[in-house]
């Protein structure tokens, strides 16, 4: 064993067409440490890791593993070099068993049975060694997300990985599961493994890493010891200027009740996803829903937005009942009732990526008389409206004839926001308003949401970013497993308390 760094990158550059994703990146990570990489969406973190894992070939630069120059033309080479990667979206075959997934690509010989027998034995040892308990014969789709992630880690250890790359590993985990993961990572570090942790959550960086590198616009701007920095400093390095982590807003002055939800239930795929949710939102109020992704927030948003139907409960708008047994797609328009909806995923829901911007401006509102002349659509009117909205919502470039996919994430989101908020709906449903959006656009969108509240509108905000929920909401409700675990006021709670609620731990038990 030498003292050479486990990983050393020298001058890595990579471009996709005209876009420079990585520019002259150099980095060095010592063996047996946890190194964090932070940066905004699109800063080039994933590209850099994909290069290290052989998914992409760098245009220029060198990679040294344990002091030896190593070419990594494909994933096979990365695996041979002792690099393992746990992707954000797990790469597991859902209807295979744990052991089948673990041996896939690392079988011994052409016959399956000896491979499986050997893997079973090794898995038992590895589980013991690192505290990664998983039933080898369980089928992946029957496992919880946390356990699926363990399978991914086991897969890498089975391949004798000494360097583990984890890409946004906690996005789908509860705080408790994330804690367990961190304990596992610490044990791996104690065994001499080197870990690269990619995340945009500064709290995690502070909690677990030894050193941290910051990426911005394809460049690696800083590398510091975690002990020597602070979240505020890291945020500033990520964005390149001072960032107000707090949003300026006046206290809310709630008025009459706009939305009242009682005992709302939704079944999907045979599973009850909403198990009796009740809540109220008043005029001039933002209700934030905190929770780990997949605990029913999506269903809540979709049933209120009319995308899916409820199996029980009642919803009323200004005191009159809303038909939740028929979806809006089956005849009733939530939009006509004054409900705006910024969906969680703009690319698969909010926009038609192949449509031009002006066509997207009418999306969902295409029955509006002002967009139509008799039986035909009035293209000129829609285009004029699009030009107007682009100017007022600062969409760049302001060209209505450009397809939606040609805009950056932030500008795409601004098109959606302009469409849904410009009509000043009485109730606005907002899901993940700033996911994959650059900081400048985040501030703009946050200001729009608060401005709408100040006009006396009711807003339901759903986000997996706890900071966003705490910064914007006037009241916070925490969802876990299809239920509201409790409501808090933002200035009377903290991340720790919310985190416990998000994990399903109520006061009595805690």
């Amino acid at each position: 064993m030498t003292d050479a760094p486990a990983i050393e990158l020298r001058g890595i550059s990579k471009s996709f067409g005209p876009v420079l994703a990585n520019r002259d990146i150099s980095m060095s990570v010592a063996r047996g440490t946890i190194h964090g990489i932070v940066g905004e969406n699109g800063a080039g973190k994933s590209t850099l890791m994909s290069i290290l894992y052989g998914f992409y070939k760098a245009d220029a630069g060198e990679i040294f593993i344990n002091g030896t120059a190593t070419a990594i033309p494909d994933s096979q080479a990365a695996i041979r070099a002792g690099i393992g990667m746990v992707h954000q979206h797990f790469k597991l075959v859902e209807n295979f068993t744990v052991v089948e997934n673990v041996i896939l690509g690392a079988e011994n010989g052409a016959m399956l049975r000896p491979s499986i027998a050997r893997a079973r034995k090794l898995l038992a040892e590895l589980s013991e060694e690192y505290g990664l308990k998983v039933d080898p014969d369980a089928v992946i789709e029957d496992l919880s997300v946390g356990h699926q992630q363990r399978v991914e880690i086991l897969k890498q250890l089975y391949r004798h990985a000494d360097i583990l790359i984890l890409d946004e590993p906690t996005g789908v985990l509860t705080p408790a599961e994330a804690d367990q993961l961190f304990r596992i990572l610490e044990r791996l570090r104690a065994e001499g493994k080197t870990i690269l942790l990619i995340t945009h959550k500064l709290r995690e960086i502070m909690e677990i890493t030894d050193t941290v590198s910051v990426m911005r616009r394809g460049e690696m701007t800083n590398t510091v010891r975690t002990a020597d920095t602070s979240p505020a400093e890291l945020a500033e390095m990520m964005v390149g200027r001072k960032v107000l982590l707090q949003v300026d807003k006046t206290p809310a002055t709630p008025g009459e009740v706009v939305l009242k939800v009682s005992d709302l239930r939704v079944r999907r795929g045979g599973v009850e996803r909403l198990k009796g949710v009740s809540l109220e939102i008043r005029r001039g109020e933002i209700l934030g829903i905190a929770g780990v992704a997949g605990n029913g927030q999506t269903e809540l948003l979709e049933v209120l937005g009319g995308m899916i139907t409820a199996s029980g409960g009642a919803v009323s708008l200004f005191g009159s009942g809303l038909d939740i047994t028929r979806s809006a797609a089956n005849g009733q328009s939530r939009r006509a009732m004054g409900i705006g909806h910024v969906p969680e995923d703009r690319q698969t829901e909010g926009l038609i990526m192949g449509f031009e911007a002006w066509e997207n401006v009418a999306f969902g509102y295409h029955h509006d008389p002002k967009y139509n002349v008799g039986p035909l659509m009035d293209h000129a009117a829609i285009k004029a409206d699009c030009v107007d909205k682009m100017a007022r919502y600062d969409v760049r470039p302001p060209n209505p004839r450009l397809p939606a996919r040609s805009f950056s994430g932030g500008n795409q989101q601004k098109i959606v926001v302009a469409r849904e908020m410009d009509r000043a709906p009485d109730l606005l449903l907002v899901g993940q308003p700033t996911r994959g959006v650059d900081i400048g656009a985040i501030e703009f969108i946050h200001r729009q949401i608060i401005a709408l509240r100040d006009q006396g509108k009711a807003i339901l905000l759903i986000s997996v970013e706890l900071d966003e929920i705490m910064g914007l909401s006037d009241r916070i409700a925490v969802m876990f497993d299809g239920r509201i675990m409790g409501e808090r006021l933002p200035d009377q709670t903290d991340q720790h308390e919310l985190g416990l609620l998000m994990a399903g731990v109520t006061e009595g038990a805690a």
Binding site: T47, G54, K91, V93, N101, I103, E107, G109, M111, L112
Partner: protein, 325 residues
């Protein structure tokens, strides 16, 4: 109905099920790897032509078989290039291949033999003969004089071409490959989640091409069987929708080898009954022969409608694999 008549229908069932089975297993490999193949029909047809044409000119049925398999594999490669390499639409590629085969076979047949798009009748030594198993009778009279067990042996089990036995042997072999070998594990994985295979350092393109090529070989044998064993020469459109019935059988079998055998035997049985009886009297009711011919298709629609169990195809089926960042 006489016992021997039943045996004869079953015997004919096996003969007619054989090309279905080979094509069905071909589709199984391809679709299990995530590549839809509605070009089974075309691959069979082009193989039927080349097998007959080359068997006729060379005088050797084995050379013919090789030529048929080679022709089918050329189309398989084309399907691979279009749908794997260039990530084109697998269904459109399949449609194109079916027409290409239907057109080319006749065009070349006309050029080579000038008999209106067919090959000349094959002499018996340019065809696959029937194998008489030891101790079996081969003449109609001989069989008629045997006891029931002997009749089953001689009529149903013995007296088929070698390709029939080969097709039947392919069923356990396919099962074994799929569930007991490394290749099978990877093949099933690439049809379910190619990203898992890719990140494990295995070539998605390589695996899918391998599957498509195996499909080419099996369709080639199926086609050769049509023109050099089931009949004696190639005629226009002789595959007559069998590729689609095989596809139907594959869905009916929910992409599993043993069930594929049952489905193909069932559809072969319909065919055999339809060939033997024009209309079937069921009490007051007359079942027209056209109904028997349409029955496999109707059954598949019923299966797809989910009225008898749900047919869930491999999850990545039909989708070209694009690496994501």
């Amino acid at each position: 109905m006489e016992f021997l008549t039943i045996l004869q229908i079953l015997d004919s069932t096996v003969r007619l099920a054989t090309p279905l089975l080979l094509a069905c297993l071909a589709g199984l490999y391809s679709e299990r790897a995530g590549v839809f193949d509605i070009g089974l029909e075309g691959k069979m047809l082009v193989a039927a032509f080349f097998a007959a044409a080359i068997a006729y000119t060379s005088g050797s049925v084995w050379v013919g078989l090789l030529a048929g398999v080679a022709a089918s594999m050329v189309l398989a490669v084309l399907h691979g290039i279009a749908s794997i390499t260039f990530r084109g639409n697998q269904l459109i590629s399949g449609v194109a291949i079916n027409f290409l085969a239907a057109g080319l076979a006749v065009v070349i047949a006309q050029t080579w033999f000038a008999q209106g798009g067919r090959t000349p009748q094959l002499p018996s030594d340019a065809r696959f003969g029937n194998i008489v198993l030891p101790g079996a009778e081969s003449t109609i009279r001989g069989i008629a004089q045997q006891g029931p067990l002997g009749q089953v042996y001689s009529e149903l089990i013995s007296g088929h071409s070698i390709l029939v036995y080969l097709a039947l042997a392919m069923v356990p072999l396919t099962w074994w490959v799929l569930y007991r070998t490394r290749f099978g594990l990877r093949l099933r994985a690439v049809g379910e989640n190619p990203a898992a295979v890719d990140t494990a350092g295995i070539s998605v393109v390589g695996l899918r091409f391998a599957a498509v090529m195996i499909a080419g070989v099996l369709c080639g044998i199926a086609g050769a069987y049509l023109s050099t064993a089931l009949s004696a020469g190639f005629v226009k459109d002789m595959s007559a929708g069998r590729g689609f019935i095989a596809l139907a059988a594959l869905i009916f079998a929910k992409w599993r080898p043993w069930y594929a055998l049952s489905a193909c035997l069932l559809f072969g049985f319909f065919d055999a009954v339809g060939n033997r009886y024009q209309n079937i009297q069921l009490g007051e009711f007359v079942v027209p022969v056209q109904f028997m011919q349409a029955l496999p298709y109707i059954l598949v629609v019923i299966v797809l409608a989910g009225l008898v169990g749900k047919a869930i195809p491999p999850r990545a089926g039909g989708e070209p694999y694009v690496k994501e960042r």
